[in-house]
Symmetry: C2
Subunit: 150 residues, 2 copies
Amino acid sequence: MGSIGEEIKQKEFANEYSKLLINVLYTASWLNGLQSSVFKEHKLTPQQYNSLRILRGQYPEAASVNLLKDRMIDKMSNVSRIIDKLKAKELVTRKPCKHDRRQVDIKITDKGLMLLEVIDEQMVDWEKNLHTISVKEAAATNALLDKWRS
Amino acid sequence: MGSIGEEIKQKEFANEYSKLLINVLYTASWLNGLQSSVFKEHKLTPQQYNSLRILRGQYPEAASVNLLKDRMIDKMSNVSRIIDKLKAKELVTRKPCKHDRRQVDIKITDKGLMLLEVIDEQMVDWEKNLHTISVKEAAATNALLDKWRS
DNA sequence: TACAAATGTATGTTTTTACACTAAGTGTAG
DNA sequence: CTACACTTAGTGTAAAAACATACATTTGTA
């Protein structure tokens, strides 16, 4: 039950590598769908959530647009506009950097931190959906994916 | 070294499951970026490519919009509009289904089949980038991801 | 100092996605 | 046959992504 071949009704793959390619893309789409349903009630996109998380990681320091871009899951994102959205919701502040006037200092607000706390709680429950494999198996998958990308 | 922690400069994860969540999303984004560079020269999006592949799988039969939607990697896609784009490039045809007039018969054209052949050749080379793990390891990862989603 | 190259961020434009909604066709129970 | 629920595909609209390009600032160098 639930093999990638059954999910997308594709009986054969050329080899395990192209199967893995599809499997990772499919699993990511599956995860995104699940996650989005959590974010939706807070009117956040996955990218906005990702940015907020990174900014919390820096807190109380500020982050530049480039730092954010480097750490984003999706490197193709347009960070400036994601920050625009978050700023409009007062979840972050954006002010010129003193040391380098090209840069901007982006910082998560208290409102942003509180929102993340609320989402954190929901995510703890939500993540239980992911406990279908053992911790050891999850660690093994992590190691394999890391090796695959190298 | 390319562990997910280093890639996105996140030192700690709550547990192996949330690490795996990030790892799969990150790996998918990485794959999408790599793939897009292949598709781009043919002016195809990953979704359009995915649709063409499915249609080739059905060939010489036609497919309905729903069949396509079911088999797409990304279930959220708006198939009607993807087909619009492919039809504009004459890669598929779309005609009313005789047996059920709600449905449409979508079929890949010779031009579409030829395009896929060209891309296939490029993909064979491209996929060698993915041979950083053994076939056994790839199969193990596939099995773990399948189990994780179940 | 002057000036070209590099860097950091923002913006314009086009394409794609997300989501809700519409319209047409089918199947079925009464 | 008719009414009604359901299926199938397409569309309108707002939001977001993709991609190239512009602009100000900083850096390196002659």
